[in-house]
């Protein structure tokens, strides 16, 4: 009995089912898995396959604007005929035009630099929170999560008013006499870094905090008692123990920052090259669906390793808390 249930598809659960004593047998069990499974297959996995297919198509002046369109009316032979029309032209085009290559490189650099800055800014905050009096910690945690509930767009928009030439930061700096000419920050890379660090800071602080909160501080004290200077105690003990949090936080910042559109568009101005913006322009301004699909496929390939790192850290955290 256990043998057969274990082998007939998605809906089956562990052979140790009686021990699980779980809810709902038979149908219930299957539906719990099957419904979300099918939903994600249709609305998450299949769309990626379609993106891949269209990235191999040719641009056409039609609706939808690509060729070939696989239709049911074509039949089997039509299907294979269409298959032969698929080309790698869009990918070749991406390598020929330096714009795309530069956009990928610049996205990687911007995402990596902002991840490092976010880590440097977030670590002291998370550390301070983890060492705060126990009674205060839930409030501090709540205060870190709260900005996450505020719209991303609004938070980026708020920085335009601060960073622009006649904005609040320049007014403040001129008033204090630090500078006498307004600084040009908006529409530069600096503005993008500020925007990414600001928007993604909670994503960095939360995993760091949960790693640091569990840490045993007597280890650091012991090291210091044995004559280890604080800085090397930090690198030898605190940082390695916080490493799972560092990895999770870094991936939570790096991956979305790579494909970021809103921040480079609103804070970076027209000069900045980032791949999320390129994809958007390719799609909405040039209406070139096959090329924007190819851009998306390459972006996804670049992100496969970081995404797998992230999933592993998630899975490990899940196993631990069992």
């Amino acid at each position: 009995m256990a043998q057969t249930t274990a082998s007939d598809g998605i809906g089956t659960y562990s052979a140790a089912a009686p021990a699980e004593g779980g809810l709902g047998r038979a149908i219930g069990n299957r539906l719990v898995i099957l419904v979300p499974y099918l939903w994600l297959l249709v609305f998450f996995l299949v769309p990626f396959l379609i993106v891949f297919k269209i990235s191999l198509s040719t641009t056409a002046i039609a609706m939808p604007p690509y060729m070939p369109v696989f239709g049911l009316e074509d039949g089997i032979s039509g299907f294979f005929g269409n298959l032969r029309e698929l080309t790698l032209d869009n990918y070749i085009w991406l390598t020929e035009d330096a714009l795309y290559f530069n956009a990928y490189i610049s996205s990687i650099v911007i995402a990596a630099v902002s991840t490092v800055i976010t880590l440097a800014v977030g670590f002291p905050i998370a550390y301070g929170m983890a060492r705060a009096p126990t009674a205060l910690r839930p409030t501090l945690l709540m205060l870190v999560i709260l900005p996450f509930w505020t719209s991303f767009l609004i938070r980026v928009y708020a920085w335009i008013g601060i960073l622009k030439p006649e904005g609040l930061l320049n007014q403040f700096l001129i008033w204090t006499g630090v500078i006498d000419q307004p600084l040009q920050i908006l529409n530069t890379h600096t503005a993008i870094y500020i925007g990414i660090v600001y928007s993604y800071l909670p994503f960095m602080v939360l995993p760091l905090y949960s790693a640091l909160e569990k840490m045993d501080y007597t280890l650091v004290e012991a090291a210091q008692d044995l004559g280890c200077p604080p800085i090397s105690a930090f690198w030898k003990i605190t940082f390695p123990l916080a490493l799972p949090g560092v990895v999770a936080g870094a991936m939570l910042v790096f991956i979305p920052a790579m494909g970021e559109f809103v921040i480079p568009d609103l804070l970076g101005g027209s000069q900045t090259l980032m791949i999320g913006k390129t994809l958007w322009n390719e799609f909405f301004n040039n209406r070139d669906w096959p090329v924007s699909s190819a851009v998306a496929v390459i972006l996804l390939l670049l992100l496969v390793v970081p995404i797998m790192l992230f999933q592993q850290s998630q899975a490990r955290a899940q196993e631990k808390s069992r």
Binding site: A6, I10, G11, T12, Y13, S14, G21, G22, L23, G24, V32, V35, P36, Y37, L40, L41, V42, F43, V46, I54, P64, V121, G122, P124, I125, Y127, G128, R131, A132, L146, P147, W149, T150, S151, F152, L153, I154, Y157, A158, W159, G161, I162, K164, E166, Q171, L201, Y217, G259, F261, V262, G276, L279, W280, S293, A296, L299, I307, Q311, Q318, S321
Partner: protein, 272 residues
């Protein structure tokens, strides 16, 4: 554990929170500015809020956003809760690795990719872009966030409660509604709220999957922001922040009072 909260620790926490909150506070302050210039203070005024309520385009967009958010959050909560149950209760089924991958990947997937891929799906199956497609897209990405929130509650759930109910003869479905659901309800509620805010905030995925007549509030705000910073947008943003803050506040108060009630019940039970 005795912790020493050093001056350095306090300073980094205070500065960190100042960095997180100052821009939002400034945005709210300048929504009450008399002047049309956003960054020059010219006295207190609520006139931009008045302007806001006369802006029919903005009101229509807010209405679309509220409906999309409500519907998508509700569906996402059901699907996300099922996904969380599947992930925590069934440790071995065929395709579990793929399944957990599909649950976790959307959390970090760049929005441009999700938006583009969903749009291409809708075109491929011949679904006209509009209210329905935005809602479907929002269900898909927010259900994964719900799944993560509910899953973290399910992991710490005491299964012996369910077993006790079943031993006493309660059928599985009834056990779920009588025992499991009340225990994980706070997580489900915060999952719903998270899904609703995510839908409320989303610009990129909505821009790809929306069509004529289904312009959401972020899309509307974005198109105005591109033309420049105006106090009217500040006012719209302030209202949006107020709505979300009120929701979060109410939810945390409700959760807290439920928690207090539960502790009181447990103490009463022990005394008997």
């Amino acid at each position: 554990m005795n912790t020493t909260w050093s001056r350095f620790n306090i300073a980094s926490v205070v500065l960190g929170f100042a960095f997180l909150y100052l821009p939002i506070v400034l945005l709210i302050i300048f929504s009450f500015n008399e002047s049309k210039l956003v960054t020059v203070w010219a006295g207190f005024s609520t006139k931009w809020y008045g302007e806001l309520f006369r802006n029919q385009g903005l009101i229509d967009a807010a209405w679309v956003t509220a409906r999309v958010g409500f519907i998508s959050a509700s569906f996402a909560t059901v699907l996300g809760t099922l996904a969380a149950l599947a992930l925590t209760r069934y440790t071995r089924f065929r395709g579990r690795v793929l399944f957990s991958g599909m649950v976790f990947a959307p959390l970090v997937m760049p929005e441009v990719i999700t938006g583009l891929s969903l749009l291409l799906l809708f075109v491929a199956i011949g679904l006209d872009r509009g209210f329905l497609t935005v809602t479907l897209a929002h269900i898909t990405f927010s259900m994964c966030f719900v799944a993560v929130v509910v899953q973290s509650r399910l992991i710490t759930f005491d299964r012996s409660l369910e077993e006790a109910a079943m031993d006493l003869g309660a059928p599985p479905v009834r056990t779920f509604f009588a025992i499991t659901l009340p225990v994980i309800l706070p997580a489900i509620i915060s999952g719903w709220m998270l899904a609703f805010t995510l839908s409320l905030d989303d610009l990129v995925i909505a821009s790809f999957t929306s069509g004529p007549g289904a312009t959401t509030l972020p899309m509307k705000i974005y198109s105005q922001v591109r033309l420049g910073v105006t106090p009217e947008i500040n006012a719209a943003c302030t209202l949006l922040i107020a709505v979300v803050a009120a929701g979060v506040l109410i939810a945390s108060v409700v959760n807290k009072s439920r928690e207090v009630q539960r502790q009181r019940d447990e103490q009463a039970a022990q005394r008997n």
